[in-house]
């Protein structure tokens, strides 16, 4: 187990990167605290897997260093890093039985036979495959194979970190839930540093203590699920996390007021904003009203998704979403929206800014 430090790390797949766009992973400094569970969240192609492969040593970064507990391992081969990694698509050794597959990483480390047996048995119970231990791996279904891949990742107890690269993509939904719970339990039992790559926000938010959101090769925010929800540091975080995502209103910021179209919105602090300024408001913080103050809006559709209702509104040509409780009636004469206090974030050029005189 180790603290993993990324120091000035960046990677480009081009031999000679010139400008920032050439980098698949933009410059990054971060400490992965020993024993925490992280989720690496972002849409496809944003550099998540690149980052993971650099940590595990499958890829050597173009610049910067990777440190395990302060020891430079940037160019060290995977074998020296003692890391377990599980990939998106199942990798099993076809000609081996399930038992041999699970024992393989231990055997390669010349571990004692009795110890191998004990751990294989334990992992088999964890992935619920005790009955199939002596089957050949080649005949199994895709999700059984992926469970074996997961098992091979978990069978080593002394690893520095456990990395998961979207491991549950091919697994059935009900099994997904179960395996994720197992992973969480494994984390609690052994306290490994875990990094879990996914593009599924539910998976990220339920699995991790800290969520790292990546966008376009850059880490845009690292925070607890609550921080990501309440204070998205970048408009992408607001849009990506939450269902539906955060609403954005183009606005002119002037001190503690913002003008959205013809309406004026009171802000809870003094902002000095330049560039493209926007207000970000989550659907949960939008209140519907009729007459009086607020931003003119027209209800276009109401969708009942079971536990709550999603109200689609038209505000000066852009679509805005609001969330209303299941029992709540949507008045037919709704023509205004207002923002609940504490639910408004101010963005300048897509990055969240804080009021003057306060810390982030």
């Amino acid at each position: 187990m180790a603290k993993i430090t990324l120091d000035n790390l960046a990677h480009s797949y081009l031999p000679n990167p010139q400008k920032e766009d050439d980098f698949a992973l933009k410059e990054l400094n971060h400490d992965w605290v020993d024993g925490e569970a992280y989720a690496l969240l972002g849409s496809s192609g944003c550099g998540k897997s690149t980052l993971l492969n650099i940590i595990s040593g499958l890829l050597i970064p173009s610049q910067g260093r990777v440190l395990f507990d302060g020891k430079d391992v940037t160019t060290a081969p995977t074998a020296d890093r003692n890391i377990a990694q599980v990939f998106q698509f199942p990798v099993v050794y076809d000609t081996m039985s399930v038992r041999e597959n699970l024992a393989f990483p231990l055997k390669n480390r010349r571990m004692d036979t009795a110890e191998i047996k004990r751990r294989v048995q334990k992992v088999a119970a964890m992935i619920d495959m005790e009955a199939q231990l002596d089957h050949k791996a080649r005949g199994l279904t895709a999700d059984a194979k992926q469970k074996i891949s997961l098992g091979r990742g978990m069978v080593r107890e002394d690893v520095n970190a456990l990395l998961f690269d979207e491991p549950l993509t091919v697994i059935d939904p009900h099994m997904k839930w179960e395996l994720r719970t197992q992973l969480k339990k494994l984390h609690q039992d052994f306290g490994h540093t875990m990094i879990y790559v996914t593009h599924d926000q539910t998976e990220a938010l339920t699995f991790a203590d800290k969520v790292v959101v990546m966008y376009d090769g850059r880490v845009v925010q690292i925070g607890t699920p609550q921080e990501l929800f309440e204070r998205p540091a970048h408009t992408f975080v607001g849009y990506f996390i939450g269902s539906p995502g955060m609403n954005l209103f183009d606005a002119q910021i002037d001190g503690n007021t913002a003008r959205v179209g013809d309406a004026t919105v009171q802000l809870d602090g003094n902002y000095a904003a330049t560039g493209k300024t926007q207000l970000g408001v989550r659907p949960e913080f939008i209140r519907l009203s009729s007459g009086g103050g607020g931003i003119p809006a027209k209800v276009t559709r109401v969708e009942d998704v079971g536990r709550h209702k999603i109200v689609r509104l038209d505000v000066a040509g852009t679509q805005i979403n609001a969330v209303a409780g299941e029992g709540e009636a949507i008045p037919a004469d709704t023509d205004r929206i207002t923002f609940a206090s504490g639910g408004v974030n101010v963005y300048a050029d897509d990055w969240r800014i804080t009021p003057r005189g306060t810390a982030a």
């Binding site: 595990s56 990694q85 050794y93 005949g139 091979r152």
Partner: protein, 290 residues
Amino acid sequence: MNKTVNQKAWFLVLPVLILVAFSAVIPLMTVVNYSVQDTFGNNQFFWAGLAWFDDMLHSDRMWNALGRQLMFSAIILAIEVPLGIFVALNMPKKGFWSSFCLVVMSLPLLIPWNVVGTIWQIFGRVDIGLLGYTLDALGIDYNYTQNTLHAWITVIVMDVWHWTSLIALLAYAGLRSIPDAYYQAAKIDQASRWAVFRFIELPKMAGVLMIAILLRFMDSFMIYTEPFVLTGGGPGNATTFLSIDLVKMALGQFDLGPAAAFSLMYFLVIMAISWVFYTVMTTLDKRDGK
């Protein structure tokens, strides 16, 4: 569903039937015909029963040719398969050099058999051939026309030169179909190079390798042109393989009856071995599917 019965549809199959009849069935039946008859010339034939088959089964000549043939096929498979795999494993994975290797390696496969024989026939000559002259200059008494061992070595090296590419290309295709994740997972699991080969590459290549072995076995078992051009079956009968012997018997000595019986048995042997291969391959597939 109701099937429409229309006997006229048979006419659609007729062209194929006629073609196959003239190209395969009728010639084969002619051979069968010869194999059960004897003649003293004058185009007069009379019934001989299974006498020729009996003769052939007790003929040292045929058993010796079969022995040489099996030894030849076994030796070239034992060299070409591991060598082909080794070459495939060491070929560049992508880029210019990978295409370059593919083209260079395909070249021997494109050369006609008799040209291959001629190339090696001249290559091995002590007076003007590069190989023969060099060996001679090095003080090695090399002479493939006189020395049985040298003749065998030359024939085998020629076949290896001609056909290893085929195995290498098929193995390479098999290797390319393995996703990167397998190699990455193996690195994470700290698998040795040998373990990667044994547990990832070999199982993934098994299918194409079986086909490669089957193709090479059949081809080598029927080999005629190359050794015929190179050694003419000599020295003595040292490199007279089955088909060379068959042609000698049928066209050289004009012993049509024994030659026909011989070729039918030859045909059956190839059928039998191919059937075994086929059965093994399909059971392997079934095991995969389960």
